[in-house]
C-alpha cells in the first residue's frame, strides 16, 4: 500500500488494476502473434467510448462490469423511471430512487463507486438520436427488453456502414433474458448475421382469438384479456388505460373476476391480472448477471484482443443460455440470411405463399404474427400502386377500401410488394405467390 501511494504517476494509477494488468500485459496461448500487450491496450480502454442502451436489469450490470473492466468513457440511454418492482435486481437503485430516471441514477452511482470512470446519461428514446450521435462510439451494448428497440438500433448501425470508412462499422453486443433463460450475441454489421436475420429465434406468442374472449372464455387469462380489451373499451373508453395505475388494474381485476365467476372459471388473481395486462416477464438478478457479464466479457475481448471473441466472421456469434434444468449453454454461429431485409445487399424479395382469397386486411394482420416480420403498423405498396398506407390521413382514407378486397383483386400471382412500418428504418420485400388448389 505504501508503495502504491508513493510510487511514480503511472504505477500509482495502475495499482488498482493489478489483476486486470496481468491479462493486459501477458500474451496467452490464444492471443494473436501480432498482439502487443501492455500500453496500447490500456490506451484503448481509457479512450474507447462505449454506448450502453438500457439501464434496467441488464443495464445496471453492464455499467458495473464495463467500469470494472477498465473502460473510462461510457454513455447510457434509457427513457424509463424507476419502479418498486425493479428493486429485486436493478441493484444501482434504492427505494428512495423510485420515480427518478434510471439512466441518471445508474450513471451517478457507478461514477461514485468506481473512481475515474465518466458515465454520461441520456434520459430519452434511442430514436431521438441520429447517425452522427451513434458514430462517436467504438461499440454499442444493448440490454433491452423490447424487440422493437433492438430492431431499430440494428437497422441503424447496419445502415451506417460505409465500406470506405472502417470506423463506421460499430460492433453491436446484445443481451436478453426471460426468467432463467437468456442469450448473448455479437453482431458485426454487414459482416455477420444481424438481429433481423435472427428474428425468427424470438417468435411472438400467438394471440388469443377475439371470439374466444368475447363468447367462449375457458382460461382465467381469457377473462382478464376480455376485461382489458373489451370491457374497458365499452365502459371506460374516455379514460386512457394506465397499467401502472392500481385503480385501473383493480377495476380490470374485478371485471375479470366477475366474468370468470359467470363461466365457473377458477384462478383469476390480482397478480395474474397485472401479469397479463402489462405482459410481465419474470426477471431475476442471477440471469441478468450471467447474460450481462457474458456481453461485457465479449466487449472487453473485442476491444483489447486479449482473447478470441464471439462474432469474428466465420466463428460462433451467439450464446444461448438455459438455467432451469441444470445449466445448459449452446454457443454457435448464426448464419446471415441472404434475403435479410436489413443487412442483405440486394434486399431480395422473400417468396411468401398466400391465399389469393384472403383480404388485404387479413394479410396485414398476419404480418404481426409472422416470426420473421412482426410488424404492427405496416403500410404496403405493390410494384404498380399504393395498396394501404397508415399515414398521412388522407392517403389512409383513400387506400382504406383496399383492406376489404381480396389479394387476387389487388395483385397478380408472384408480384412483389414492399412493406414499411414506422417503427423501423427499413423496407420489407415479399414476392406473393398464390397457394394452389
Amino acid at each position: 500500500m505504501a508503495e502504491a501511494t508513493s510510487g511514480a504517476g503511472v504505477s500509482e494509477s495502475r495499482a488498482r488494476w493489478k489483476y486486470l494488468d496481468n491479462i493486459l500485459h501477458r500474451p496467452g496461448p490464444f492471443t494473436d502473434e501480432e498482439w502487443t500487450p501492455g500500453e496500447p491496450q490500456i490506451e484503448t480502454l481509457s479512450r474507447a467510448k462505449i454506448l450502453v442502451i438500457g439501464a434496467g436489469g441488464l443495464g445496471c450490470e453492464i455499467l458495473k462490469n464495463l467500469a470494472l473492466s477498465g473502460f473510462k468513457d461510457i454513455h447510457v440511454i434509457d427513457m424509463d423511471t424507476i419502479d418498486v418492482s425493479n428493486l429485486n435486481r436493478q441493484f444501482l437503485f434504492r427505494h428512495a430512487d423510485v420515480g427518478k430516471y434510471k439512466a441518471e441514477v445508474a450513471a451517478r452511482f457507478v461514477e461514485k463507486r468506481v473512481k475515474g470512470v465518466k458515465i454520461t446519461p441520456y434520459c430519452g428514446k434511442i430514436q431521438d438520436k441520429d447517425e452522427e450521435y451513434y458514430m462517436q462510439f467504438a461499440l454499442i451494448v444493448c440490454g433491452l427488453d423490447s424487440i422493437e428497440a433492438r430492431r431499430w438500433i440494428n437497422a441503424t448501425v447496419v445502415g451506417m456502414v460505409d465500406m470506405q470508412n472502417p470506423d463506421s462499422m460499430k460492433p453491436l453486443v446484445d443481451g436478453g433474458t426471460e426468467g432463467l433463460k437468456g442469450q448473448a450475441r455479437v453482431i458485426f454489421p454487414t459482416m455477420t448475421s444481424c438481429i433481423e436475420c435472427q428474428l425468427d429465434m424470438h417468435a411472438p406468442r400467438a394471440a388469443v382469438p377475439l371470439c374466444t374472449l368475447a363468447t367462449i372464455p375457458r382460461q382465467p387469462q381469457h377473462c382478464i384479456e376480455w376485461a382489458h380489451i373489451i370491457a374497458w373499451e365499452e365502459e371506460r373508453k374516455d379514460i386512457t388505460l394506465d397499467s401502472d395505475d392500481p385503480e385501473h388494474i383493480t377495476w380490470l381485476y374485478q371485471k375479470a373476476l366477475k366474468r370468470a365467476q359467470e363461466f365457473n372459471i377458477p384462478g383469476v388473481t390480482y397478480s395474474m391480472t397485472q401479469g397479463v395486462v402489462k405482459n410481465i416477464i419474470p426477471a431475476i438478478a442471477s440471469t441478468n448477471a450471467i447474460i450481462a457479464a457474458s456481453c461485457c466479457n465479449e466487449v472487453f475481448k473485442i476491444l483489447t484482443n486479449t482473447n478470441p471473441f464471439l462474432g469474428y466472421p466465420g466463428t460462433d456469434n451467439y450464446m444461448m443460455y438455459t438455467g432451469d434444468e441444470s445449466i445448459y449453454t449452446y454457443t454457435f454461429e448464426h448464419m446471415r440470411k441472404p434475403d435479410c431485409p436489413v443487412c442483405s445487399e440486394e434486399n431480395l424479395a422473400r417468396p411468401l405463399q398466400v391465399d389469393a382469397n384472403s383480404t388485404l386486411q387479413e394479410f396485414l394482420d398476419g404480418l404481426a404474427e409472422r416470426p420473421e416480420s412482426q410488424l404492427k403498423k405496416p403500410s404496403i405498396r405493390s410494384e404498380e400502386k399504393s395498396l394501404y398506407y397508415q399515414f398521412p390521413p388522407d392517403l389512409e382514407q383513400q387506400t382504406r377500401p383496399n383492406l376489404m378486397k381480396k389479394l387476387s383483386e389487388l395483385l397478380s400471382d408472384g408480384e412483389e410488394v414492399a412493406i414499411t412500418d414506422p417503427a423501423f428504418p427499413l423496407q420489407f420485400k415479399y414476392k406473393l405467390v398464390f397457394k394452389k388448389g
Binding site: P29, T250, I284, D324, Y328
Partner: protein, 563 residues
C-alpha cells in the same frame, strides 16, 4: 362516474410488489425458503466471485448471510470488487463488503467474521448456524476437507468455486439424497399426460355425449367439440377396424391422423378443433409410461424400505410406487391443455380430469396413512405434500450428492466409479474436462506454495513467475490426466491423446497467465450461475447442477460434468 368506482380490494403487499418478478418464478413457498436460509461465504484470493454471488442472493431476499474473510482492503480490490470504496482501504474486506451488500436490501441481515479461517473453523459448532456454505479458491486442502466432512455429516450443501482469469468452475456437494418435486418442466417441450389411451369411464362418457350425432350436428356445435372428445371418438372407431388395438406405431398414427383430418368439414378457414386434434395425435397418443428416471426412483433403497424416520418424500414415493404397481400408470396430474371449446364444455372436461386426479391422490394418501401406521411415524405427512407429489410425479428428480475432489499435496486424484465415463469423454471435441483437470492442478500448486516461507496465505500460480509456474502446473496436470486414463482403463488413440494433451497445455497456460487474478466479468458471470444454483437448492425447485460446472470465457462455453 363516482358510482363506477369499485370497492377497494386487497392489493399486493409492499413485499409482493418488490419481489413480483421473482415470485412469478418460485412463488411464495420458494420465497419463504429463501428468507429462512443463512448463507456462509468463506472468501479468499481477490474475493470477487463470492461477493457477486451474494449480491444476487441479497437482492431477491435471502434471510441472512455471513462473510468470513480476513483480508485487508487493498488498492487492487478497488479495481475489481464493486462492493468496496476508496475510504475502505486498510479496513477489513469482510466488514465493508458486508455493509455495502446490506444496502441492496433492508430486509436482509448481513454478518461478517474477520478472524482467519483456521481460527474460525476451529471453534466448536462454528458452522452450525448455516444452511448452505460457499467457499472460494484458493483454500488450503485441510480446510476444504473439514468443510467437506461437515457437508457430509450435517447434510448442508457446499459449493467450491474458482474464478481465475477467463476461466471458472464450481462443484456442488449435495446431501446423498436430494429429491426435487417441483421441477418446473417446460410446458412447451414436455407432453402432458391426458390419458387418451387409458381413458376412464367418466371421460369416455363425456366424449360420447359430445360426439353423439357427429355427422348431422349443426356447424357451430361441430366446430366446438373439444379435441380430446374428438380423438377419443375416432379412437373407438379405429379400434373397431383394428381388432380393438389403438394406432401404435408411427405409420398407424399417421393413418389415424389422416382419418381425423378427413372428418373435418370443409369450410373456409377450416375447423380449429379438428386442427388441434390432428396436431395432438403424434404427441398425445402414447402410453402414459413413466420415465426411466421415475421408475428408477421406485427402486431406490430409501423407497423400498420405509422407516419410522424416513423423510416424507420417500414415504410418498413408496405410496406412489404402490399405485403404479397396481394401475400401471402414475396418479393423474389433472390439468388439461387449453383447446377450442365452449366454456361450459371445457369446464366440464376440466372437472372430469380434476375429479380423477383427486381420486388417484386419495388412493395414494390412503397408502401414505397406512405406511405411517405400520412404521409408527410420529408426525403425519401433510396432505398438501402428497398432492404436490402426485401432480408432479412424472417429472420428479433425484440428485445423488457426493463430495467433490479435494486435491491433497502429493496424493493421486481419485475418480472412482466415474473414471471410465470421464476418461472416455476426454476425446470429445467440446469436452471441458481438460479445463477441470487444469483447475485440479492449480489446486495442487496452491497446496504446496505459500506467499512467504512462514506459511502465510497460499500462493497461486503465475503471481510472479509465469513460465516456471506454467511448467509446474502443466507437469501436475499431465500427471492427473494420465492417472485418469489409467484409472478409467480406457487408453486413447495416440492422435486423440496428443490433442487432449495440447488442449490441457493451453488451458494451463491461460490459467497461469492470470496469476490468480479474477476478471470482474468472469466473476460476475460465475456469481450469476452459482447464485442461481443456490436458489434452486434452497427453494427445492428446478433442477440443480449435478455436480460440477465449468466455464470457458475464451470460447464462451459451459459444460456440466459429474465428478
Amino acid at each position: 362516474m363516482a358510482t363506477d368506482i369499485p370497492p377497494p380490494v386487497q392489493g399486493p403487499t409492499a413485499k409482493e410488489r418488490k419481489y413480483d418478478r421473482q415470485l412469478r418464478l418460485w412463488g411464495a413457498t420458494g420465497q419463504m425458503a429463501l428468507e429462512n436460509s443463512h448463507i456462509l461465504l468463506i472468501n479468499s484470493g481477490p474475493g470477487v466471485v463470492g461477493v457477486e454471488t451474494l449480491k444476487n442472493l441479497v437482492l431477491p431476499g435471502v434471510g441472512h448471510f455471513t462473510i468470513q474473510d480476513s483480508a485487508i482492503v487493498s488498492e487492487a480490490d478497488l479495481g475489481v470488487n464493486f462492493f468496496l470504496e476508496e475510504e475502505h482501504l486498510g479496513g477489513y474486506r469482510a466488514e465493508h463488503t458486508c455493509n455495502l451488500l446490506k444496502e441492496l436490501n433492508p430486509d436482509v441481515e448481513g454478518h461478517f467474521v474477520t478472524e482467519p479461517i483456521e481460527a474460525f473453523i476451529d471453534e466448536p459448532d462454528a458452522l452450525q448456524p448455516y444452511t448452505l456454505i460457499l467457499v472460494t479458491a484458493p483454500i488450503r486442502p485441510e480446510i476444504l476437507t473439514i468443510l467437506s466432512e461437515h457437508a457430509s455429516n450435517a447434510l448442508v450443501p457446499l459449493f467450491y468455486i474458482h474464478s481465475v482469469g477467463f476461466y471458472s468452475h464450481f462443484s456442488i456437494h449435495l446431501p446423498p439424497a436430494f429429491p426435487i418435486v417441483d421441477t418446473h418442466p417446460d410446458p412447451e417441450t414436455t407432453t402432458r399426460d391426458i390419458r387418451l389411451l387409458k381413458p376412464w369411464p367418466e371421460l369416455l362418457q363425456f366424449a360420447r355425449a359430445k360426439t353423439e350425432g357427429l355427422d348431422t350436428m349443426d356447424a357451430d356445435d361441430h366446430g366446438h367439440i373439444p379435441y380430446i372428445a374428438l380423438l377419443l371418438y375416432f379412437l373407438e372407431k379405429w379400434k373397431e377396424e383394428h381388432e380393438g388395438q389403438p394406432p401404435l406405431n408411427y405409420k398407424e398414427k399417421t393413418a389415424f391422423r389422416e382419418m381425423v383430418a378427413k372428418a373435418a368439414r370443409s369450410l373456409e378457414g377450416g375447423e380449429e378443433n379438428f386442427d388441434e386434434a390432428v396436431a395432438a395425435v403424434l404427441k398425445s397418443l402414447n402410453d402414459p409410461e413413466p420415465s426411466s428416471a421415475v421408475k428408477g426412483l421406485f427402486k431406490e433403497p430409501e423407497c423400498l424400505l420405509v422407516k419410522q424416520d424416513s423423510p416424507a418424500f420417500w414415504v410418498i414415493a413408496h405410496a406412489v410406487a404402490l399405485f403404479y404397481q397396481k394401475h400401471g400408470v402414475l396418479p393423474l396430474p389433472g390439468s388439461v391443455p387449453d383447446m377450442k371449446a365452449r366454456s361450459k364444455d371445457y369446464i366440464e372436461l376440466q372437472n372430469i380430469y380434476k375429479a380423477k386426479a383427486r381420486k388417484d391422490m386419495a388412493e395414494v394418501l390412503e397408502s401414505v396413512r397406512f405406511l405411517e401406521r405400520t412404521t409408527m411415524r410420529e408426525t403425519p405427512i401433510e396432505e398438501r405434500d402428497v398432492e404436490t407429489f402426485c401432480k408432479n410425479a412424472a417429472h420428479i428428480k433425484l440428485v445423488r450428492g457426493r463430495p467433490f475432489h479435494v486435491v491433497q499435496a502429493g496424493e493421486k486424484v481419485q475418480w472412482g466409479d466415474r473414471a471410465k465415463s470421464l476418461a472416455q469423454s476426454l476425446a470429445f471435441p467440446d469436452s471441458l474436462l481438460p479445463l477441470y483437470i487444469a483447475f485440479l492442478a492449480f489446486d495442487e500448486f496452491v497446496a504446496t506454495h505459500n506467499k512467504n516461507a512462514l506459511g502465510g496465505a497460499p500462493k497461486m500460480p503465475g503471481e510472479d513467475h509465469v513460465e516456471v509456474d506454467t511448467e509446474k502446473v502443466a507437469g501436475i496436470a499431465f500427471k492427473i490426466l494420465t492417472d485418469l486414463i489409467a484409472e478409467g482403463n480406457t487408453p486413447l488413440e495416440e492422435e486423440d491423446f496428443s490433442t487432449v494433451e495440447t488442449k490441457l497445455g493451453e488451458y494451463v497456460k491461460e490459467l497461469v497467465r492470470a496469476g490468480g487474478a479474477e476478471l470482474h466479468n468472469i466473476s460476475a458471470f460465475t456469481g450469476g450461475l452459482v447464485s442461481q444454483e443456490v436458489i434452486k437448492i434452497i427453494t427445492e425447485q428446478y433442477i440443480p447442477v449435478d455436480n460440477t460446472c465449468i466455464f470457458d470465457g475464451v470460447r464462451s462455453k459451459t459444460a456440466v460434468i459429474q465428478v
